[in-house]
Each structure stands twice: as C-alpha cells, then as structure tokens.
Amino acid sequence: MKFSVMISEGPYTHQASDTAYNFTKAALEDGHECFRIFFYHDGVNNGTRLASPPQDDRNIINRWSALAKEYALDLVLCVAAAQRRGIADADEAKRNGKNADNIAPGFRISGLGQLIEAGIQSDRLITFGD
C-alpha cells in the first residue's frame, strides 16, 4: 500500500517527528511504499543540517536523512513554511538574498502542491502533529 505522511511539528519539542519516523520505518519494513513525507508548519525545522543534539540523544534530522537514503524517500519541506522559519537550500538562499543555506541531506524544498499531490496519489495520508 502507498502511504504519505504529513509532519506538522519540529524536532524535540514534540514527539510528532519521532512517531512519524517510527511509523514510516515500520511501514517500509512491512513492505509498504512511501510516496512522500511532507513537512509543514514547524515541521520544516526537521530539515536543518545545523542541529547538533547531544551525543547521547537521537539525532532526529540525521535519522530522517539516513532513512531517505536507504529507501529513496521523498522528504519535502514546504517552501512557504520554510521561508517563514529560516530553512533554505542553495536556490532559496540565493533567491531571498541570504548568505547561507541549511537544508539537511535527503530533503528538498517545494510547494504546497506537493502535499495535495501526495493526497491524490497515495492510498493513505496520515498527519503527525501536536
């Protein structure tokens, strides 16, 4: 079955990203397909490579990047939400006159249409938030 996931909260403050990760990993291991993971609201903060959590804690961002690499996941940060919260890839940084980008490996920035498309193309869409 083809799943998509929307994540509405950033890492660490809320459990949403952890639960979404555990859910997605289980779905993939059970042989399901994941069409897209869409990060919205503060969820876009899951896509910064500048996070440096303590060594003895899980690294939520790296964990997503690794899962994306293993399963060729499509991790999409909403562009409007990302602009508000200071998450940028090289193109976005240039377009908005910023001197740096901070997007983590495996993530990409795109429009809200990607969320709608996920709803259309997937058999199931589930939201994790607060």
Binding site: A16, T19, F23, K25, E29, D30, H32, R124, I126, D130
Partner: protein, 102 residues
C-alpha cells in the same frame, strides 16, 4: 468505509479524545499514541468515557508509548488492545481514512 482516529494528548489536558469519540461511527477504530496513552488507563476521570464508547469503537493503544511512560499493562482499561508501530501501520492500512485529532 471505515475510519481510524488517532489521539495523541492526555484527555485530562485536551478534549481530543472526547472529540474523537463523539465523531467516531460504530465500527471505527481509535488509537491512542504519545501522551494520548494516558487515556487508556483505568481509574482516571476519563476512563468511563472510554469504557462507555467500547460498544461502538475498537480501542487501541501504542505499547512503546505506554512503556516509555511507565504505565503497566495491568492498569489499562480492559478491552483496549496494545499494538506496536507495525500494528499502527496495519490499522492505517485497514481503514479507508485516518483523522488525527491534534
């Protein structure tokens, strides 16, 4: 058509468990995750709300979230089934649509 409802907050903090129960149709499933698992405990001011809804709704609770919070399975309201993440995935797959009560 059948629907899965997920609830991720304690019923003593938010009204999401109550809203989910009100909007669940006979035959729907409700899964408590994250802080929502406190809603599965016996002896709270909200336990009766869950017990009373069991004729219509199948209740599930996330085992890993219970364990993390030190909630012994013996304290769970009878009839609530404990699932893991794979069980969560199966519930989403079995139901046509999932509403997350955030």
């Amino acid at each position: 058509m059948s629907q899965l409802h997920t609830v991720n907050k304690s019923p003593l903090e938010r009204n999401t468990l109550e809203s989910a129960i009100i909007h669940a149709i006979k035959g729907n499933a409700l899964l408590m995750i994250e802080d929502g698992v406190y809603g599965a405990m016996q002896g709270t001011h909200k336990s009766a709300m869950v017990s009373d809804a069991m004729d219509n709704i199948s209740f599930y609770v996330m085992g890993p979230d219970l364990k993390a919070r030190g909630i012994d399975e013996a304290r769970i309201i009878e009839g609530i089934k404990i699932v893991d993440y794979s069980g969560f995935v199966a519930l989403v797959a079995e139901h046509d649509v999932t509403q997350s009560w955030l």
